[in-house]
């Protein structure tokens, strides 16, 4: 790891004052230390926000769910109110990585993770995403079994955040604070796809800090679920994951949000799958039809065609789980 200056901040203002000259913000530090150990980022200064108390804490009330960005994944997974009313979020946080990582990793850090792509994560490979000169996306011509199967023309990375999937499905909002003031960004606008920018992965600007994540109160009749599938049943990066939020009236689906995690370079909603379910009775047939619609426009690479099948399984089973018609899948990553 490169040498760096370390500043432990106690307040947001103090942190904002330190975020200059190439400094990187550190919360749980899991993804950051990973990147630093591999020499992918070499910040001269770390701004430690881990001890800023105003960024901690979870409040669930009549106006919705307020999550301090320093809430750990363990805290989110264990929160009774989140388990009950924001089930998919508790599931996603509770199935990310390992128990030890969940005890350390924060919500803000989870949604700010850098992409998964072994070419991006290796200092041996040059690519435009790392400000490199090479025009090639090595994943297009190389090993790509874990890469994106949709929107992958420019760059085939995937975003690994589990929590971003239900947050997007629940219309969450992210509060960003800088010296200029605060602004709120919808989760649907938070990630920047590679065709818009290869460098900016999110709308977070230099000097901005995530100071809150807000999830609105679910409509009456809302049920949600999240499941992820990987090579192992214990901890693993997802190969396919689905977040489903349904507004139900008995078995009748009034509204549906279906979000896919590692299908594309950013978490994406499948409006095609949502359209199949909206206004219909949820059963095995409609769940299968939604899964199939979600993968209609998939453009798998040479080695990841299996992910289109795996995503259909993930969507089908998670729709039925959300609708209360299926038990949690024991073959999903627990």
């Amino acid at each position: 790891m490169n040498k760096f200056v370390f500043v432990d901040c106690k307040t947001v203002d103090e942190a904002l004052g330190q975020m200059s000259d190439g400094a990187i913000v550190k919360a749980g530090g899991i993804d950051l230390l990973d990147l630093m150990k591999d020499g992918i980022v070499t910040p001269p200064k770390l701004v430690n926000i881990r001890n800023i108390s105003s960024l901690q804490g979870i409040t669930a009330g009549k106006d919705g769910l307020h999550l301090g960005p320093l809430s750990t994944l363990s805290e989110i997974a264990a929160h009774p109110e989140i388990q009950k009313n924001y089930t998919a979020l508790a599931n996603a946080a509770g199935h990310a990585a390992t128990p030890q990582v969940r005890n350390m990793a924060t919500l803000g850090g989870n949604i700010m993770q850098r992409p998964r792509c072994w070419y991006f994560r290796s200092s041996e490979f040059d690519c435009k995403k790392k400000n490199g000169a090479s025009d090639d996306c090595h994943a297009h011509t190389g090993e790509n079994q874990y890469h994106a199967i949709m929107n992958n023309e420019t760059c085939a990375m995937v975003h690994p955040s589990s929590t971003a999937v239900p947050l997007l499905a629940m219309n969450a909002q992210v509060e960003l604070t800088s010296k200029r003031g605060k602004r709120t960004v919808a989760m649907s606008e938070f990630y920047v796809p590679p065709e818009k920018s290869l460098i900016n992965e999110t709308v977070v600007q230099p000097g901005e800090l995530i100071t809150g994540v807000f999830v609105p109160v679910p409509e009456p009749g809302t049920r949600s679920a999240y499941q992820k599938y990987g090579e192992k049943e214990s901890f693993d990066w997802p190969l396919a994951d689905a977040g489903v939020v349904l507004v139900m009236d008995g078995t009748h689906c009034r509204k549906a949000w279906i979000v896919l995690g590692v299908a594309a370079p950013t978490p994406i909603r499948s409006t095609a799958a949502e359209a199949v379910l909206t206004g219909k009775t949820i059963d095995e047939a409609t769940a299968r039809a939604a899964a199939s619609a979600a993968m209609k426009d998939a453009t798998p690479l040479s080695q990841n065609g299996f992910k289109t099948q795996l995503f259909q399984t993930a969507i089908y089973r998670t729709v039925l789980l959300a609708a209360g018609q299926m038990q949690p899948d024991p073959s999903a990553i627990g």
Partner: protein, 218 residues
Amino acid sequence: MADSPKTTFSRRGFLKGAGVTAATTVIESANALARETKDALHSDRAVGPGSVPVKLHINGHEYSVAIEPRYTLAETLRDNLGLTGTKVVCDRGSCSACTVWIDKTPALACMTLAIDVVGRQITTIEGLSHGDTMHQVQAAFVKHDAMQCGFCTPGMVMSCAALLDRNPNPKLADVKHAVSGNLCRCGTYPKVFAATLDVAQQRRQTAGLVALVTEREA
């Protein structure tokens, strides 16, 4: 000097006095170090990139150590403090061999900066046993032969002991979940599960006996 009291001088007294003086010096310098560390970490003054003096609370003891901000807790424990019970295997948070407790919660020493745990209570595998007496979980690992090469064992024990502290009646699924991040390439998992469930059983029996004795005495 005629009225000066008679002084006695013994070897033991001298050593005791010298010891007190030396200890006082150590405490004074430790206090100065603590003030310095507190100031350095809690003001807007940045520390590093060179060595920074810090105090770490590990296994109930206070250690003064000079570290660069980039040192991980795992490196500091092993290389600076000689606490080599904590193992480093993947150094990327993927195997959990380096599991320690930070304020009683299992965490990864390899993905924690040592400077970030100033003021927190660290427990390592060395802190579980009492002298030569093994912790119950360690004893159960021996009894059930729950290790082969032993490299994952300290992390595995830390995960299982933390589970039993927060859940005295774990089911098999709870133990599996608790060690779901601890990789063992020798494949000792079934014995790890058996050892942990055995400790839970022992503790229930002990608790039952204590309750019985208390009841009879009452």
